[in-house]
Symmetry: C2
Subunit: 419 residues, 2 copies
């Protein structure tokens, strides 16, 4: 049993089976039972129990992994009308509750609802809401997620404050170990040499730039449009005494200037929008000028599809994880050679499990900072993200590339894995 | 200096500078001089000398890496009218000769003629000749290249008879070492375990299937539509005593039946045609049935473009190396997860250098088997292929993938590089 399978069978310890059995459904509730059957059928009758609070209960034939309770028939009908969007809102405001393991429940829903080899149709793709990742739109979108408080993020991201997929040398590594290993994995793939220059697009709290400067002896210019993150990053660099080696620039990646030996972007592409990929490619093309190496790390998909609608609305406005065919729009117009793609999907599931644990342990503090609704909203986001990676709805791609005319590329990948 | 750069400066030993200087151009030849200037300008005035036999000579300002001589003004005008197609034919029939290093000359032409970030337009793509990779068309196309004689190929492919990019653990490895290392590299990426079943699409002379059966204890069904190759492969398997473990099937990949733990295809995709990729994906989808691993090794491109026209006409009818965005048409409609892409472009250049050396050493035998025209035609094909890989006009992609819903995937890639 591998790590991902283990998570499918793990439980949170809270057992809904200990709850008192619901009262016998009243005579007036056949409609409720019918509606619950609809929910179950919509999900291809998964091993989940569905209930209306103090009312009808629908149990599956096999043992249920979790029970989903709707506060009322009205809530149930509202969710049924637009489940992709309203389930999340109802969970956040407490009108839908889940007893049992939330991650397992979401994994079951994902697997019940597979697209079975039918990717997004052309029509559905055309009907996607337009993204708003203009310069101003991006600033607003990023502000809404990343500027809600460094103190909040520090509760559950671990000591590195890296808010992207870690790299676990072994599945039992700690979160902090894996985040440091991720930074080294990136630097090794880029074959950074002391004295080189690096430009980073979307630097988060600045940890990777700092790590590169400290441990690889390079000079880094790191761009980010989140003010809170930039301020935190500058303070860290000063404290670490590498302020002269790392420059944090509060600006959009589209405004990158200068020539560099390497371009790196970890966890920004999700916010760029497919319509801006050719422009991103032109920025990298200009920054590398026919030599050097580039590296992009991003959440992705097995096929083109929009982000889960509730996540896009409530958590990541303007975000879209690309399929590899879409990512190629960055590289192909500029004759970049893709040298190496690695999919770290299960590593992101593990990273998220660690975040989720820390988040749950700090949920009282989060409630004090925000409110109970916020606690539940982010609980669903983190649990849903674990489930998305364990069930293959999301991927994590690391792509190493170089200008097509450059032969200054590594002979093979053995050096990345040399002790 | 890396291996590719080295090749750019190497010479074949035949020095055109030792040739007697051409006679002074006659008064009647200003048109010839003008035409030669046209050729040079068309290639952005590369460091090459251009001449008409016993006539005009155009020398570049810098030292020339090679001299290209046209037999007459008529030949020159014919090549100028359609260089991509007619240069190859003129070289083959001897009416264009190259003194100096042929590979260097072709590399210079490639680099003089870069597309500078402008990939194929939609119109040019639409105007590409339709490919003919129907079941019958493929059989004909494959017959024309692979059935010209096992004895011929055995002159220059080395003892493994592997006619695909090798994997050089170090740049100094021998051809045979690198071909064996390639087979192990493929098997390691596929994480083959004893007792598993493998289906191979396009098995060449059967060496990989044999290697898998012998060294990894798997059972292999290997498909190929080249009769000469299949007959050779069966004989080898009998001789090696693994006839019961490897079945060579003379049939098209589209007719693969049964379920397998792994799908593998090394060097067939170039012949499939982009229009058949979704169907190839469906074949793999059916063969794996929601579990297992898949692996495709193929020549590719940094952006969509047709194969060099002369190569497509004279050497590989119906062939087209895909861009990664095009390759995704195999995977995305079937929810396959791309796990690992490795670009081995410089390894193919090295493989081709070894083939080219062996080919040149056996050129008298090749002349006896065919004729002088054939010798030159294949000389240009091999030298041109080296140049295409060293200048980034062609890539070599190895793609590992798995059904999207499967979590039975390797934790990371360290095991591939473990001693």
């Amino acid at each position: 049993m591998n790590a991902a399978e283990k998570s499918l069978t793990s439980t949170s310890g809270r057992s809904f089976r200990d709850a008192p059995p619901p009262g016998a459904p009243e005579a007036a509730k056949p409609l409720d039972a019918w509606l619950l059957a609809k929910v179950s059928a919509f999900l291809n009758n998964p091993p989940l129990e569905f209930a209306i609070r103090d009312g009808a209960v629908l149990s599956p034939a096999e043992p249920a992994a979790a029970r989903v309770t709707f506060a009322s028939r009205a809530v149930l009908m509202s969710v049924l009308a637009d489940p992709a969007l309203r389930f999340g809102d109802a969970f956040s405001d407490g009108s839908v509750t889940v007893e049992g393991d939330l991650v397992s429940m979401l994994e079951i829903v994902n697997l019940s609802n597979t697209m079975n080899g039918k990717p997004e149709t052309f029509l559905r793709r055309a009907l996607r809401r337009p993204r708003t990742n203009t310069l101003a739109g991006s600033r607003d979108n990023i502000h809404r997620h990343y500027d809600i408080g460094n103190q909040f993020y520090s509760l559950w991201l671990g000591s590195t404050m890296a808010y992207t997929c870690a790299y676990y040398p072994t599945p039992t590594a700690s979160l902090d170990e894996a985040q440091v290993a991720k930074m080294d994995h990136v630097c090794r793939k880029l074959r950074l040499k002391a004295g080189e220059t690096v430009v980073e697009a979307g630097c988060g709290w600045g940890t990777l730039a700092l790590h590169m400067a400290r441990h690889y002896g390079v000079r880094v210019r790191a761009f980010n449009i989140s003010r809170e993150q930039i301020m935190y990053a500058r303070e860290q660099a000063q404290r670490a005494g590498v302020g002269g080696q790392v420059e944090y620039v509060e600006d959009d990646y589209r405004n990158i200037t200068g020539r560099y030996d390497a371009f790196v972007s970890v966890g920004m592409l999700e916010h760029v929008g497919v319509e801006n990929y050719a422009e991103l490619g032109s920025v990298v093309h200009r920054a590398l000028g026919g030599r050097g190496r580039g590296f992009i790390h991003s959440i992705g998909r097995n096929y083109p599809a929009a982000l889960q609608p509730w996540i896009e609305k409530r958590i990541f406005p303007g975000a879209c994880p690309p399929a590899l065919s879409e990512m190629m729009r960055i590289f192909e117009p500029w004759d970049f050679s893709v040298l190496d793609v690695e999919n770290l999907r299960l590593h992101y599931a593990q990273t998220l499990r660690h975040w989720y644990e820390l988040y749950e342990a700090a949920s009282d503090k989060v409630r004090d900072m925000f409110d109970a609704r916020f606690v539940r909203m982010w609980r669903l986001y983190l649990a849903g993200s674990i489930a998305a990676f364990t069930t293959g709805k999301l991927q994590l791609f690391q792509v190493l590339f170089a200008p097509g005319e450059s032969n200054d590329i590594a002979w093979n990948r053995a050096d990345i894995y040399a002790p």
